[in-house]
Subunit: 479 residues, 2 copies
């Protein structure tokens, strides 16, 4: 048994009584050949290990460099130093793994940039910024499961590999075991997918929603939380080829129920992280404040990270219709001064600049927009009585834009089939989806929350590649 350590997080909240403790971790810094800041990832804070002068071998002390791993046994005592209440007075220090300071990419003094850290994503977990980010990511994930579990939702694992390409949510990755070099072909020269692993062409899923609906039509309330994929060639700070999405789907919900749930959900998540990861958030807030200082005054956020999160938790989201949103844009100084790059009129798919105007300039808070034109939304959204809009809702938040997209689903078989034909969705292939409308159909609704966008919102990080461990994007599949 090797695992005899006490975690740093626990040590830091333990009353020091000169008790013997073992702590293990990586060196963050070593001052005056005497004070070791040791971290084990359990918290952003370090435990100070004191190696009294003259007690330890010079050869050993030389190996205590940033990044080296140690096993320290000693007494937990009250600390006289600033910034900590306890420290470990080392009786024994064992070097578990050395770390050559001449080659170690993460030397604290260098203040490596976020861009550089992306290239060494296998090591960036060891920085304060990224250990905080990934602890928050854990906390948010757990909060998601906790929220739904408490409400009696069931976690459904929808398939990753799918033969269905009907959702039309974006370009898809192909999945195959056929030899690329020389795939089997049919007589007409086309690829013979019947010889592929699944006996047909398959892709990586872009959404678990349709399968989620199947679950909700029996279990009432389900949610998914898993990876989804888009083969979009977008090399931006907002897009990933592989990202995680949460998609709850609820029988017996209309659009209003859907909005209420989504709003409650987002507020719950933020509240959870604020209660459980305050130190991480404080660190990230400071990081963001430092980053903002580099910007011209006009581009800086009006609120700090913590302020912004508190604001979202404590205020109802604004709810407006798409038609109202377009009117606001048309009345805006930005529109009148021709500051928008893209045109504004009823029927457009609002661009990021429009969404940001609404949430950041006009309302200064999260906004739920409902009743989008049917023409710009997916086939499964419930058709409104006006014959031109659908019961869709998007939640837009400051700094991020669209965080949630959802809708009440079209539960009426005839209307759904008609819409599918209009949109050239293969009705026959989707027999299983339509069966839910054939046999005991019910009003139902759901939404999708992009997990990494939520992470950006909560951590104040600005590049989506910095909130997922190993980002996948065009020409990027390292690690």
């Amino acid at each position: 048994m090797f695992n005899t350590r006490v975690k740093v997080k626990e040590l830091l909240s333990t009353t020091p009584e000169n008790q013997n403790v073992t702590v293990m971790g990586w060196v963050r810094s070593f001052r005056n050949n005497q004070f070791i800041a040791l971290n084990d990832g359990s918290t952003n804070n370090n435990i100070q290990v004191v190696a009294e002068l003259g007690v330890f071998d010079e050869e050993l002390l030389k190996k205590i460099t940033p990044g080296a791993s140690l096993k320290v046994t000693g007494q937990l005592v009250a600390s006289l130093g600033k910034g900590q209440s306890v420290e470990v007075k080392a009786a024994e220090i064992i070097i578990l793994g050395e770390c050559n300071p001449d080659t170690y990419p993460l030397q604290l003094k260098n203040r490596p940039s976020l861009e550089y850290l992306r290239e060494i994503a296998h090591l960036r977990f060891r920085t304060q910024t990224f250990s905080a980010v990934f602890r928050v990511r854990h906390a948010l994930s757990f909060a998601i499961h906790k929220f739904f579990n408490e409400k009696g939702f069931f976690y459904l694992h929808t398939p990753i590999i799918t033969a269905s390409d009907a959702e039309g949510a974006g370009e898809m990755f192909k999945v195959s075991t056929l030899p690329f070099d020389n795939p089997p072909r049919k007589e007409d020269g086309s690829i013979d997918f019947s010889e592929d692993f699944f006996g047909r062409a398959t892709n990586l899923t872009v959404s678990g929603q349709l399968e989620g609906e199947l679950g909700a039509m029996a279990l009432s309330e389900i949610y998914t939380f898993g990876p989804t994929f888009r083969a979009e060639n977008s090399n931006t700070a907002r897009h990933l080829a592989e990202f995680w999405m949460i998609e709850p789907e609820m029988a017996f919900y209309d659009l209003e129920d859907n909005m209420n749930l989504a709003e409650e959900f987002i507020q719950y998540l933020i509240r959870y992280v604020m209660a459980n990861n305050r130190e991480d958030l404080d660190f990230l807030a400071q990081r963001l404040a430092d980053e903002e200082k580099q910007k011209p005054q006009a581009e800086r956020s009006e609120m700090g990270l913590i302020e912004k999160l508190e604001f979202v938790v404590n205020n109802k989201f604004e709810r407006i219709t798409y038609t109202e949103a377009i009117d606001i844009l048309l009345q805006s100084p930005a529109y009148k001064k021709k500051k928008f790059q893209y045109d504004v009129k009823w029927g457009i798919d609002m661009q990021s600049e429009h969404e940001r105007y609404l949430v950041e300039k006009h309302f200064s808070k999260p906004v739920i927009v409902t009743g989008y034109p049917a023409a710009i939304k997916a086939f499964y959204m419930r058709q409104n009585e006006d014959g031109k809009t659908v019961a869709a809702m998007d939640i837009l938040v400051p700094g991020i834009g669209e965080l949630v997209g959802g809708s009440q689903r079209e539960e009426r078989l005839g209307k759904l089939e008609q819409r599918m034909r209009e949109m050239h969705i293969p009705v026959e292939e989707m027999w299983w989806y339509l069966d839910t409308r054939r046999f005991g159909s019910v009003p139902h609704a759901g939404f999708g929350l992009g997990f990494e966008r939520m992470m950006l919102f909560v951590t104040g990080m600005t590049n989506i590649r910095d909130v997922i461990a190993f980002p996948r994007a065009p020409k990027t599949a390292e690690f």
Copy 2:
């Protein structure tokens, strides 16, 4: 707002005081034109809705068929009937969605087989068996997160798409956006993957372990819980092409720590489900007992499902070395009577028949086998002093065989590189993995638990395709 209902699960534990309630769900049965068994998936039990004779329209009553969805408002009253303590005396019944009994595939009387239900996996959630299975799946999933969260582990989302093919754990699915028909080629005629989405050839991950280690080398204790893939052409009741795996990875753990964690983990999960899903387990236990009755006496399990789960929770797992396991097999009546299909000698990769002998006949309990021959295990397992075995551990359980595979990892750079070269693993490509051994390496360990195998063990289902919502297997990618 449509969602005014009270869930059946909640109603069934509410004290009836003639209060007005709304309940929504699907009809399971309708007896005597009067008693509706309504279910909403929140529990295996139904709420009885009483439609008093003469009160409701004949046309309405005709539409109350199995599978139809209803909204019922009425009074919650004490029930005089058998099997329930409360029932709803209907004041209003609204048919939300009809269900044609002539075409509805799930007519209770037919007792559809599990095989048939696999073909209509989009509807099988509505059966008692599968709603129980998927509620248990949710509970197990939640218990996994709860266990690790309580222990201070961080949930890490390791990548699904990977350019690394070094793990050698099995055949992989290729992921690409190249046109299959006419892919770009290099001058030598080979496929030019530099033009593919990621600028290189990519696959679906077979394990998140290597990336998990990167996280553990900073955050100390992490776990993954996500989909993994094998393109193995195995059309069996035990294999899936897409399955979910839990892979914890812990810094500062040796093999014994690893075993202790795995054992505690499995017992925790079972205890959680027994405490939270007893009704589902009781139903599944009965189902299994009925299934067992179809078998010849000799093939029946000695224990019922609940008994078996209690046994696992209340008994320490047996711990033996691989060498001891081989000795037991060589001494066994089965071996002496030549009942094993595959040969037994030191060095073999034990077959299912051997593992089952050990756990089902010899020990009658879960067994942890350690110290496997290096030759049959992966490159990253820590080499023992004997020069021929590694610090691996497999956990074998009755009825399933291998449930967990894990090891202490080789943390010594020189030994790891040497082993990689021996096994023809590309050392240069794996620079990022080796960096963790270069910079502050520490003893660490981890394991993988196949989620669907755990599901089989806990639910008593016997085909792995019956414990995942939409199974993926050779020639199988429906829904």
